[in-house]
Point group: C2
Chain length 464, copies 2
Amino acid sequence: MRIRHEPPYRTLVGRAALGLGLLALLNVPAQAQDIATRYRDAANRILVRATGDSAAWRRLAELTERFGNRFSGSIGLERALDWMLEEMRKDGLDNVRGEPVMIPKWVRGEESAELIEPRSQSLPMLGLGGSISTPPGGVMAEVLVVSSFDDLKAKAAQARGKIVLFDVPFTDYGETVQYRSNGAVEAARVGAVASLIRSVTPYSHRTPHTGGMRYDSTVHKIAHAAITVEDAEMLHRMQDRGDRIVVKLVMSARALPDVPSRNVIAELRGTERPNEVVVMGGHSDSWDVGRGAMDDGGGVVAAWEAIRLLKELGLRPRRTIRVVGWVNEENGLRGGNAYRDRYREEAANHVLAIESDGGVFKPQGFGFSGSAEALAIVRQIGTLLAPFGAGTIDSGGGGADIGPMMELGVPGMGLNVEGTRYFWYHHSDADTVDKLDPHDLGLCVAAMAIMAYVVADLPVKLPR
Amino acid sequence: MRIRHEPPYRTLVGRAALGLGLLALLNVPAQAQDIATRYRDAANRILVRATGDSAAWRRLAELTERFGNRFSGSIGLERALDWMLEEMRKDGLDNVRGEPVMIPKWVRGEESAELIEPRSQSLPMLGLGGSISTPPGGVMAEVLVVSSFDDLKAKAAQARGKIVLFDVPFTDYGETVQYRSNGAVEAARVGAVASLIRSVTPYSHRTPHTGGMRYDSTVHKIAHAAITVEDAEMLHRMQDRGDRIVVKLVMSARALPDVPSRNVIAELRGTERPNEVVVMGGHSDSWDVGRGAMDDGGGVVAAWEAIRLLKELGLRPRRTIRVVGWVNEENGLRGGNAYRDRYREEAANHVLAIESDGGVFKPQGFGFSGSAEALAIVRQIGTLLAPFGAGTIDSGGGGADIGPMMELGVPGMGLNVEGTRYFWYHHSDADTVDKLDPHDLGLCVAAMAIMAYVVADLPVKLPR
């Protein structure tokens, strides 16, 4: 998921008022000003239906539990995609199809980390996605614990031949994830033989968190893995107590040739301008741990349920709403790029792209990237979401999978949700459906359905 | 640890007033009425010292991290006990000694649980302490999920030849732990070939929780293990969706002959009546997962630090305060029983027994089991703890390790702490020192030091 900053909910009223002011300033057509009036009934019907049962939650439970994790290259992913296509057809959605995408296949293999000195203990760990393996038999070396890249620089002379551990407390994702992304490069640069990070999470139950990482062509590659917050802090204290620390790291990860997969697509075709499209979704793949319930099964299911509800309610908009489960967001973004490549010529007809990839906790609103005139309009639509607390439309937002289309000029939007606990579970074995509340998920469905429906139905095309 | 019920803190003032009223009613010697006045200075000095640094927390970190878990029969436990004795001597405490105790040695061995149908998935698990192994190669069988013992009775006809899973949500420990303790017996009674429980915890991060269990001579033994809350709920939903569920359980647990260990003891000898003893402590052993920081390294360290501070402050009471790290509470209670056997003849000289075994979060007070007259006195002492929120003295309380002495008539007392998160970590890999706050642990030290010191120093012996 991407990073976002949410203003407090109490600013909603002020923001709505500002939106109205902007409308006047920008001389937006009068019809935009009565969006709230025009669509209030539809919005209420959507809300009542989306929160009237636990259908979305049950669908997410089935997706995540029938197929387990949906890692790129896994049989679980392909079975899940088959099932989604089958269910979408059963729902009677339009133009249900899988569009071919070649995706990477990285395989974790056997892996372990073991504390050897000052005492023997197995360290729960996860290799980071894309890491190379260790040499056969693993690498055993003394550990140097550092607190930051700056601290590593200060201790560079001690790093040669060692395993560097970045024990960096979580501040926010964007900042802390740098050690996951770039730790191997920076550690290799000073001569380390492998690198470890403290898992990128504000809360731990001795659960390691995986995620993507990168190499740099100017530096040799070393194996890179995450250990738990608890053990990173322990090793740091051992170092502070003067203990010599030795760890044995074994990883047999390897990258296999690309394999075929699919972006999964279903539509609610528009009545008047079916070639104009609001595209909306999340990513179908997950990491190879947990069950990918909030990252990002929930995003896909929320979008899918949104058009199913619209169809059942007879709310078919003027333009087409296209739901996409983009594949391979986690370790390649191949789905988002393939979509852009396929629809490049139709970018001008993409009215809006919406993504949910920050969990499906209680929705707070959306972040929007587009023109000031369009922002004023979606803020008007936001007033329809305000009754259930989801009306805050921030300036700036989007999603990884819609990023390639946004680069072509398509306005982009990301669902914002109450985010306290998202990173507790992110990329870990604990990302399972039980952490999510059926009512909150229903509210996410409602927020996405109302936003997509109104944008797709407005007499005026959302201005660029 | 034992189960306790804590009244809300706001009742403190009312309780203190009640205590004063009881004193009058019971015609307690006048000197008890000025406990608060007499000991306020000492209490303040103890509080300032106990919270002035992180010494207790650092000692707990060192105990738990240098030696890891301290499971009965492990080399880690014996090394930790050696270290405690050495450190206690360095602290200059009196009569530091290890008193021999023979303890059981149960070894978990290799173990695993794997979902075979409806799909393949490894299920994080922990065999329960004392369980037998499965037959070599494991047991593979269909799973029957039940919600309670009553539900098992209702489905008894379907249980034969199956693995029974008790998917019982956590209510309180005393209630929910019945499935861990007795699940294997009840499942075997209806013909199950193995039994699984949902881990006994109100919160899960896909982390299994172990703990003790029992067999019954009237029923054959079957292997008994805990899976995670997440997976128990998933299997339950799979059953509700009509899936056939097959699990393969492999356990190679075995009970080896008893091995020698020790109760670790250190004293602050009394100035006037050294043969009269306030005994105070926790248990030194832990389960074979995590690092036993709150269960119960924290209890032992709090008691130990309490007498170290008293000694440093020159607060040597009339009677002896004896700190004990009882061994093998978790799967045998051999330490508590051995102490009772060794000191049976001196039970009359045991003025009070205090245990901390519910975690060392923010202290709220103590639970006390003894005469009404004694309760009134310890409630007076409680007024010295009230300024830092630890003044609530409940009627009823104690601890597993002091239970045998309490059966001989010794008044017993257990430290009560803010308990929201204790069971999140209990008996799991997540029981590590980082979950504990140094200041809160300092307050626990202060509460135990003040309580023990005043009881040991009172002119009047705490009445039976």
